[in-house]
């Protein structure tokens, strides 16, 4: 199955809804709750990155027998230095976003921790594609 959810730039009131829909979909499919937790956390972080750092994008959930795949695709400024972006505590989030408790520089590290595989492709001034794979245990 494939589920595609649009994510708006800077819409903080709707932020988290994509991750929530992914979680509910996986619950309906009867996926193990610990696995859902990892997918939900990683998807939330990916969604927040689209909200905070891009001009908008989408989350795509694909589930098959072997893997749960979450793609976060956005258009926008992209990531200039991926190695630096992966470093815990490093953030380019603006101050007003940090005041809300976002932009702690833990998003990508959290995603890496939760996912069984993580691929990031980014082109500056075009956008970023994040692919996260989780082994489906069911």
């Amino acid at each position: 199955m494939i589920l595609e959810i649009p994510v708006e730039s800077y819409n903080f009131s709707a932020a988290g809804e994509a991750a929530s829909r992914v979680k509910k979909t996986l619950q309906r499919l009867g996926i193990d709750s610990q696995l859902i937790r990892r997918v939900a956390i990683a998807t939330y972080e990916a969604e927040m990155n689209i909200v905070i750092h891009s001009d908008g994008g989408k989350i795509i959930l694909q589930v098959d027998e072997e893997e749960i795949k979450v793609q976060a695709i956005d258009q926008g400024k992209g990531i200039a230095d991926l190695e630096l972006a992966m470093k815990e505590g490093y953030s380019t989030a603006p101050d007003e976003v940090r005041e809300m408790g976002f932009g702690a520089g833990m998003g990508l590290p959290n995603m890496k921790k939760c996912a069984d595989r993580l691929e990031i492709k980014s082109v500056v001034n075009e956008g970023t594609t994040v692919v996260m794979g989780f082994k489906n245990q069911s």
Partner: protein, 110 residues
């Protein structure tokens, strides 16, 4: 410890979730950084924070937290309360500082 006992312990006020106060929680996580909470809070935890915007509900929901406690007299935004109701997330508030609330709960849990 149940959520009802928690409320008594920290002089808390129920913002949302009256029907769920008999439920138990299994620990506490304290942070105002959402990604820190996402990365470290465990299912069934109570989360103490001064963040009041509605993304707090999204985090609590995704992690299956037992409740969110807004400390130091902070009250959640209207949109946070509304979203909490929609999603059935228990929201509590207390006038106590995060430090004092945590201290009281810690003592009670010993």
């Amino acid at each position: 410890m149940t959520l009802k006992e928690l409320i008594d312990c920290i002089d808390g006020v129920v913002v949302n979730g009256h029907e769920r106060l008999a439920e138990k929680f299994n620990g506490v996580y304290i942070s105002d950084l959402l990604s820190d909470v996402m990365g470290h809070a465990q299912e069934g935890n109570v989360w103490l924070t001064i963040q009041t915007h509605n993304n707090v509900v999204a985090v609590a929901l995704l992690l299956n937290l037992a409740a969110v406690v807004f400390t130091a007299g902070n009250t959640p935004d209207a949109s946070t309360i509304e979203k909490g109701r929609e999603e059935g997330v228990v929201l509590l508030s207390t006038k106590l500082s995060t430090f004092e609330a945590a201290g009281r709960i810690y003592q009670k849990l010993q």
